[in-house]
């Protein structure tokens, strides 16, 4: 059982996950952010690896990645930082990055480092299912890693069932056909999509992300899924109030 499955054993509704970018706002803020999120009872944390060309991300996360790269972050530093809190951190971490980072770092070396840091779940948005089936499934199995797949309003039912079978953590339900970032209220069309997915009675847990930004959107998302991920809104908060403002941000969500 991986760390995320263990969380679902204890609790399977209203799960709050927060995405943040490593090395942002300052190079050495990674562990401060994780510790503060843990102190505020966030259920699991999505740790973003800054990337120069993040295709699925909106302007807020793009800017945070650029700033983190300017701060001097790189994969070696990220792994060093995560190793430092491995023993004390009890909140599961999910690592999110783009495939080119893993490819260049060395796929085996990357997976080994991830596991050494106590992480067992990855989100790689540009890793397509066919590549997973042909190559990465075997690699991830070797290291006991789980890949989280995304589904969107346009993903076919057949494909969703396939993804359901590959999932050992959760299915990332992308709230709308969009890149990351707040869109305001959740529309009736989105609710119809959430209801459709819920009615499929998948074996996997569902976490909704993209466009979840406040208490209202979080609560709505949680009524159709096991929980939700907040990213851009949290990054904006970090930008304006820094690590010290994390408590207020989380208490404003639930």
């Amino acid at each position: 059982m991986n760390s995320i499955q263990k969380i679902f054993e204890q609790k399977d509704e209203n799960l709050l996950s927060i995405y943040f970018t490593c090395g942002y706002p300052e190079l050495n803020d990674t562990n401060k952010v994780i510790k503060t999120l843990e102190a505020n009872n966030v259920d699991f944390i999505e740790v973003g690896l800054p990337y120069s060309d993040p295709l699925a991300d909106g302007p807020t996360i793009q800017d945070s990645s650029q700033q983190a790269l300017k701060n001097g972050i790189n994969l070696d530093i990220v792994f060093e930082q995560l190793m430092e809190i491995k023993e004390t951190n009890k909140t599961p971490l999910v690592l999110m990055g783009y495939l080119n980072q893993m490819l260049k770092y060395g796929e085996d070396k990357f997976c080994k480092k991830v596991v050494e840091c106590g992480i067992d779940t990855l989100i790689i948005p540009d890793l397509p299912m066919v590549e997973f089936e042909n190559h990465y499934q075997q690699l991830f199995d070797k290291y006991g890693l789980t890949n989280v797949f995304l589904i969107t309003p346009h993903t076919s039912e057949e494909r969703i069932h396939k993804i359901d079978n590959y999932t050992n953590a959760f299915i990332y339900v992308v709230a709308s056909a969009s890149i990351t970032g707040a869109k305001g209220e959740i529309s009736n069309q989105q609710i119809a999509y959430f209801e459709r997915i819920k009615a499929m009675k998948l074996k996997s847990k569902l976490i909704i992300g993209f466009g979840i930004s406040d208490s209202k959107t979080f609560t709505t998302a949680c009524s159709y899924a096991n929980g939700a991920i907040i990213g851009s809104a949290f990054i904006k908060s970090l930008k304006s109030t820094g690590v010290s403002g994390i408590g207020n941000f989380i208490s404003g969500i639930r």
Partner: protein, 394 residues
């Protein structure tokens, strides 16, 4: 005939290619993959495509024996005059083809990315022709250095969206176009080069293959043989080179030379010579050779030519490079400018700065007597006049 330089069923050229796209794009790419070959090979498409190429684009483009240039370099140098295409470059071959595919798929909104502006102009042109809505993404830096093409696109009715991230050039314009496409899946992404996720590289290569198809019969008419000894073309993403090489992939006797932009010098830190500086990586949805740092962050390229200012090459070119089928050379800004001035003086043709890179390798090649060389003159230099004028004194 199936060539090893055509992609396999998953869109791979050797280890390069594929479709590394977020799930959000899967339906769009799948729709195209499921339909493009059937559409392109249909008689209806071919009739309409060939008719537009003839009467709208102005094909066949001439294959011109450049006598003075030939005398200077001691070879028979032919120029495939893609600069004489409507809109001023080879790009329009592809946009005419893709707009027909978009229409067959029932799409009404078109997006495109552009570097030098030639693809943007060619896209805006075919959108005007077909009455379709057109949005072009262009790096903020390129908007400034390619002002005439920006004006043309606007006159043709296109909306220009500046890409303000990263290096503010072609790479970033492509990122922004893909992000827009994710959010607007009903649009058709009319990609400008042999880059992007499968099937885009193959589709664009097929639509540019008209260049080598014509070269074959034109050479036969002029020399009695269909095959030249050497074909030279510049490579950014690589669409004009793919078109010029296409019918010669399997004729190993024909030497294929791809010329990249070395910028201020391959090792100057200001270059776009991807094959020399790049490693295997993923950019814009395909696995290829790519300029990147030790941690997979994409390195900003540099070239005086906006169309070659790209940190990768298309996956077909990565395979041509790795397999040794094509020889990769490069030319600096300075060498390209000199070659542009030289062609202007010797032959009365002002080439695009991109094309000038292909011409710039002529002094670096030791030609054999009677060697037949075709240079793909991919575009004309009107858009680059300001840059050329700035360097007139040099």
């Amino acid at each position: 005939m199936k060539s090893k330089f055509h992609p396999d069923k998953n869109g791979y050229f050797g280890q390069f290619g594929g479709a590394f796209i977020p799930e959000l794009l899967h339906p769009n790419v799948k729709e195209l993959e499921d339909n493009y070959i059937q559409i392109i090979e249909s008689k209806e498409f071919q009739d309409e495509y060939k008719s537009l190429l003839k009467d709208f684009v102005g094909r066949p483009t001439p294959l011109y024996l450049a006598k003075t240039l030939s005398e200077k370099y001691g070879a028979h140098i032919y120029l495939k005059r893609e600069d004489l295409c409507h809109t001023g470059a080879h790009k329009v071959n592809n946009t005419v083809g893709q707009i027909l595919i978009a229409k067959k798929l029932g799409k009404t909104k078109i997006i495109a990315e552009t570097g030098a502006g030639q693809h943007g102009v060619a896209t805006a042109t075919v959108c005007a022709l077909m009455g379709l809505d057109c949005t072009v993404f262009m790096g903020e830096k390129d908007i400034v250095r390619q002002a005439p093409n920006v004006a043309r696109m606007k006159m043709l009715g296109a909306k220009i969206v500046p890409a303000t991230s990263g290096s503010k050039t072609l790479k970033d314009a492509t990122n922004e176009a893909i992000r827009y496409w994710i959010q607007n899946p009903e649009t058709f992404y009319l990609i400008g080069s042999v880059v992007g996720p499968h099937p885009h590289p193959d589709m664009v290569a097929r639509l540019q293959a008209i260049i080598s198809e014509e070269m074959k019969w034109q050479l036969k008419e002029k020399t009695g043989k269909e095959d030249p000894d050497t074909i030279i073309a510049c490579v950014g993403g690589g669409s004009n080179a793919a078109g010029a090489f296409y019918h010669y992939f399997d004729d190993e006797d024909v030497e294929l030379i791809a010329v990249e932009a070395a910028g201020l010098g391959v090792n100057s830190g200001e270059s776009a010579a991807t094959s020399q500086l790049g490693e295997v990586g993923i950019i814009h949805g395909s696995k290829t050779i790519l300029m990147q740092d030790d941690y997979g962050q994409i390195v900003e390229p540099y070239s005086i030519s906006a169309g070659l200012d790209y940190p990768g090459v298309g996956p077909l070119h990565a395979y041509l490079y790795e397999s040794g089928r094509a020889k990769f050379m490069n030319a600096t800004d300075k060498e390209a400018l000199a070659a542009g001035f030289e062609l202007t003086k010797l032959e009365g043709i002002i080439p695009a700065l991109e094309t000038a890179h292909a011409l710039a390798v002529l002094p670096k090649i030791d030609f054999k007597k009677d060697q037949v060389v075709v240079i793909n003159l991919s575009g004309r230099g009107d858009k680059d006049l300001e840059t050329f004028i700035q360097h007139l004194e040099d």
